[in-house]
Symmetry: C2
Subunit: 315 residues, 2 copies
């Protein structure tokens, strides 16, 4: 397992899942593992390696069980996966995943479209996953994360009432979640909203880890990440090269760019445990296998400031 002692913020790399599922390319299993190895070698302590959705829906994720097993053998980091339902959770646990990220949309319209369930049905499913975990002592150390997407607005429903986010967070906590993941799936959030929502979610979570997942669709990804950090969030998702663009916004950037996020945190004087030079090497490995898929990111173009890292820069 990853050693997360001594780090101030845990950066959760979701590129091999959220990034790849938005690309046209079908990356072979070996290529994914080469990329994941390079990510681990940069110091990332948690990497989302796949998604246990039906292969016919997301052929890019069809090898998720194999990738998960091999990632576990690599060692040195927490192997995180996405699961949309109980069936996916069974497969993920069988493959040996360390963290299961269950996904439900705060927008019920989007949830019905995405996983064909009402909120109530999704929470029932989540409860069964918690029961499954508790039924077998082998799964004792597995983190079951209750994820909420479209918390800051939805391309179908538009604005989302914050009270729905808080109600569903409460439902997750009551069901026994080990972690809460709050996502701005389509890049609608702003820093003031981020501070307000995460302050309340952290209160409701009452000590359970809360992660934040932002997209940079309208350029506010890092501003939102900073805002979440300011109110106490200590786990942030990113995608190397900003993969994960939305099919409804051609050319738009995707997830928060991991290397820009790491640069921001490190330049703020925080420890992420991640080496930016090695992260750039992982980016090169990724690009080699992406078949020309566009990547994003400012740090990759501009490089480090003169004298960075340096106490003088931050002091």
């Amino acid at each position: 397992m990853a050693d997360t002692d001594g780090i101030d913020v845990l950066v959760h790399e979701v590129g091999p899942r959220d990034g790849l599922q938005a690309t046209q390319v079908l990356m072979p299993t070996d290529a994914k593992l080469e990329w994941i190895t390079a990510l681990r070698d940069s110091g990332l302590q948690k990497i989302q390696v796949g998604s246990f959705v039906p292969p016919k829906l997301l052929p890019q994720m069809a090898d998720s069980a194999d990738v998960t097993k091999s990632a576990k053998e690599l060692g040195g980091f927490k192997v995180s996966v996405l699961v949309p339902n109980l069936k996916g959770a069974e497969l993920a646990l069988a493959a040996g995943a360390d963290e299961l990220n269950f996904v439900m949309s705060a927008s019920e319209e989007h949830n019905l479209k995405n996983v064909r369930k009402t909120h109530e049905q999704s929470i029932e499913d989540f409860t069964r996953i918690i029961e499954l975990k508790r039924s077998n002592d082998d799964f004792r150390d597995v983190t079951i994360s209750g994820g909420l997407s479209t918390c800051f607005g939805c391309t179908i429903a538009g604005p989302i009432a914050e009270e729905i986010v808080f109600e569903l967070t409460r439902a997750y906590v009551e069901a026994g979640a080990d972690r809460i993941g709050i996502a701005d799936t389509v890049g609608y959030g702003n820093p003031v909203q981020v501070k307000r929502i995460f302050s309340e979610v952290l209160d409701i979570a009452d000590g359970i880890n809360v992660g934040a997942h932002f997209h940079d669709t309208r350029g506010l990804g890092l501003a939102n990440a900073f805002a979440a950090f300011e109110v106490g969030v200590r786990e942030l998702d990113g995608c190397l090269g900003g993969l994960g663009g939305c099919p409804y916004a051609p050319g738009a950037t995707g997830n928060v760019v991991t290397e820009d996020l790491v640069f921001m945190l490190e330049s703020m004087g925080l420890q992420t445990g991640i080496n930016l030079d090695r992260l750039m090497e992982a980016r090169a490995v990724m690009e080699k296998h992406l078949g020309g898929e566009p990547t994003h990111g400012a740090y990759a173009k501009a490089g480090a400031p003169k004298g960075f890292p340096s106490a003088g820069l931050a002091a």
Copy 2:
């Protein structure tokens, strides 16, 4: 003069100056004025239209006196210009500029290279500009802004001691500055540093307006703008389309993208007085005259969220 009543944050568009001086294209005077008119029509209340530097150094700015005079005739916004010295200030005042942004680098090495003056010599020059303003009642309403570049680090000197920034701010205030402008010229700053530096500068300025100028070179432009807002800064620079890239970082983004900044502020529930649709029209006018020069920005690619602007989004 622009009516800035009822706005929460003043966005200062610096594209026709900071943006253009970084481009290869020599934009004709008429094209600049068409662009400036479109900027005004979007609701921008202050636009930096030129720079009174020697024309042989910056041929893109050689028509700054004409542009300033015509911009004044357009009306409806505050006409801001850059001046590097007393001579430039004389020309800018003669042309009728409403705001003179004097520039000095916090990095003395950079200042010597840029304007061939020590800090002491630059402050002497600034003092003479203040005296010039006070010598003629026609200039009573002109804002003389003391600008400090490279406050967050310098490509030549590396890290910059914050005490230098504070000392030079004090010197500007003592000399009689009407405004202080603090700039992260090369995109080295981070939000924690931004909050620390601007908190102190606002204290020293003691009621004098303080503006913030960020570059997005490493992706932190909007995070830094949000951080500055949080500690009380109410005037933020931007460049439409993120013009103003640094010649030392090929392909890197330039200034904070005005339209992304306006989207952030408006989505935070703040009034900027700017209409985003019309700002996109101004972007189209600018691009028409840029001769293929690259532009940046996320909002331009992704558009507005569903239901925006909407009280529901922020509430």
